[in-house]
């Protein structure tokens, strides 16, 4: 079965042809990063216009690289949320029109479920129950998948997403956008133990994430020590490199603290770490160590599958199509769509139920 995947939830226009949900015939990603860099982040109005310009050529290129004709495609899978509304609408309407014109089925895919499926190409089949830490510029979620297609949201951010914290700190330090790669680069030359930044505690005892306090701690440290942002073209001082390393270390420990606690309790067979922040080597190494100590197998997508792409959307779409699921013609974009269709997990420690929602 050949599935054409389409992804346009944020600032990457992407299309991919995937065979039987596991083999990538092509994966084309057109990034808008150079356009958005001058604004220090994605600008929704600009992103949607760019998607409109790029989607047709990107799909053509994906078909060409896969060596297939449009008539060979069996189904279309498209991200319909969460994401930026104007961006999502471009992909959703394009995919719907294409599938209707070709008379083939189409299915809307939750972008976060796409990240979950980003590991299927390069790892052994996912064993269940699986736990997934999905971290990117817009999302920070920890899921339990007790069986295929079932997801329980265990933990999420209360304020900033992990990737967003990297972007904010990079901006404060004068290091530009996007923050993840540049902080990682200078962190390698800094001392992660130089400064003690706090790991946030959630006052109601739920195992959620919070990165706002860490950001504030960095602001305070800069002010109290009179540290100026790096000027353009200048090499950052050792002090700035130490801040990068210490911040990154704290961010990674924040992510893995909840993961460790919940993995100990729920005993998954596989731990998936995916999303743009999964490119971070410190997070990868620390996740490997954590998984080893818990006797769990860890799966990562390779870097080009960690950030937004359409191959993962095609794989997730294939999974649902195989189960006979289809989207109706009234499918639309939903910016707030959740990935949660099972639940009632009662944490042994706090005894509170995580509310059930879909």
């Amino acid at each position: 079965m050949l599935v054409l995947g389409i992804e346009s939830s944020c600032d990457e226009t992407a299309a991919a042809v995937v065979e039987d949900g596991r083999r990538i015939l092509s994966s084309v990603i057109s990034s808008q990063i150079d356009i958005h860099r001058q604004f220090g982040g994605v600008v929704p109005e600009i992103a949607s216009r760019e998607h409109l310009l790029k989607i047709d050529p990107v799909v053509d290129e994906a078909l060409e690289k896969a060596g297939v004709a449009i008539g060979d495609i069996d189904a279309v899978a498209v991200t319909n949320g969460p994401g930026l509304i104007g961006s999502l609408l471009v992909g959703v309407n394009y995919a719907k029109a294409l599938a209707m014109g070709l008379g083939i089925p189409f299915i809307g895919v939750n972008h976060i479920e796409g990240h979950f499926f980003s590991v299927v190409f390069e790892n052994p089949p996912i064993e269940y129950p699986a736990m997934a830490l999905i971290v990117s510029g817009g999302h920070t979620n920890l899921f339990l998948a007790p069986e295929p297609g079932k997801y329980e949201l265990l933990s999420r951010t209360r304020d900033d997403a992990a990737g967003e914290a990297f972007d904010k700190v990079a901006k404060m330090l004068g290091l530009g956008y996007p923050g993840g790669p540049v902080i990682e680069r200078y962190a390698r030359e800094g001392d992660p133990k130089a400064i003690r930044f706090p790991i946030a505690k959630i006052s109601d005892g739920k195992p959620d994430f919070s990165f706002s306090g860490l950001k504030t701690a960095v602001v305070r440290y800069l002010r109290e020590n009179g540290i100026e942002p790096v000027k353009e073209g200048e090499e950052p001082s050792n002090e700035i490199k130490d801040i990068c390393a210490s911040f990154q270390d704290t961010a990674v420990r924040t992510l893995l603290k909840n993961t460790r606690k919940l993995a100990k309790e729920l005993r998954p067979k596989v731990l998936i770490v995916a999303g743009g922040v999964a490119c971070n080597e410190t997070l990868r190494t620390a996740s490997e160590k954590l998984a080893e100590s818990l006797g769990v197998t860890v799966y990562f997508p390779s870097k080009h599958l960690s950030t937004d792409n359409a191959a993962m959307i095609a794989a997730a779409g294939h999974f649902h199509l195989q189960r006979g699921e289809r989207s109706a013609t009234d499918l639309t974009a939903d910016v707030n769509i959740r990935l949660q269709n099972t639940g009632e997990h009662v944490s042994a420690k706090d005894g509170r139920k995580v509310p059930y929602r879909i």
Binding site: G41, P44, R158, D159, E164, D167, T216, V335
Partner: protein, 150 residues
């Protein structure tokens, strides 16, 4: 114009003041939040949303998306312009003109100073928060608004 400064010693107090202000808001109101990074602007907005019937666990920072839209008792637009430094770019990037045309919506803007001199069409309520970290916050609310405990 009314102006009042309230001392908020804890994050909970900041949230509660947001709730009190939120309860007094109606469609068409614009709230501008000022204060340094980490002052508690998003927390204050969570309080506003809570008063308007929204589950605040779902409210996260819009620094990445620039604008989050919530459907509660009213429609609420939560905007954050921190990373947009050019005034013209700031209003364009979030489609602010279009948002302000929605008379049934409450518009909350963090880092409104990025807009420079901007005509909102109404007199906005201004909330200025000082302090960060564990220190208490001084929150000054100014505008044509009367809220509980005022």
């Amino acid at each position: 114009m009314l102006s009042k400064t309230i001392n908020c010693p804890t994050p909970e107090a900041t949230f509660e003041l947001g709730e009190r202000l939120g309860a007094a808001l109606k469609g068409g109101d614009v709230v501008l939040l000022k204060g340094p990074l980490g002052a508690g602007k998003t927390l204050f907005t969570k309080g506003i949303l809570s008063a308007l019937g929204f589950d605040t666990a779902d409210v996260t920072s819009p620094s990445f998306t620039l604008v989050n839209r919530y459907e509660a008792d009213l429609t609420i637009y939560h905007i954050d312009l921190w990373r947009i430094e050019d005034p013209e770019g700031a209003s364009f990037s979030v489609g602010l003109g279009e948002i302000l045309e929605d008379e049934d919506a409450v518009v909350v803007i963090e880092w409104a100073e990025r807009l420079g001199a901007f005509d909102f069409g109404v007199d906005p309520v201004e909330v200025e928060i000082s302090g960060d970290g564990d220190s208490p916050r001084e929150i000054t609310v100014s505008g044509e608004i009367v809220f509980e405990g005022d």
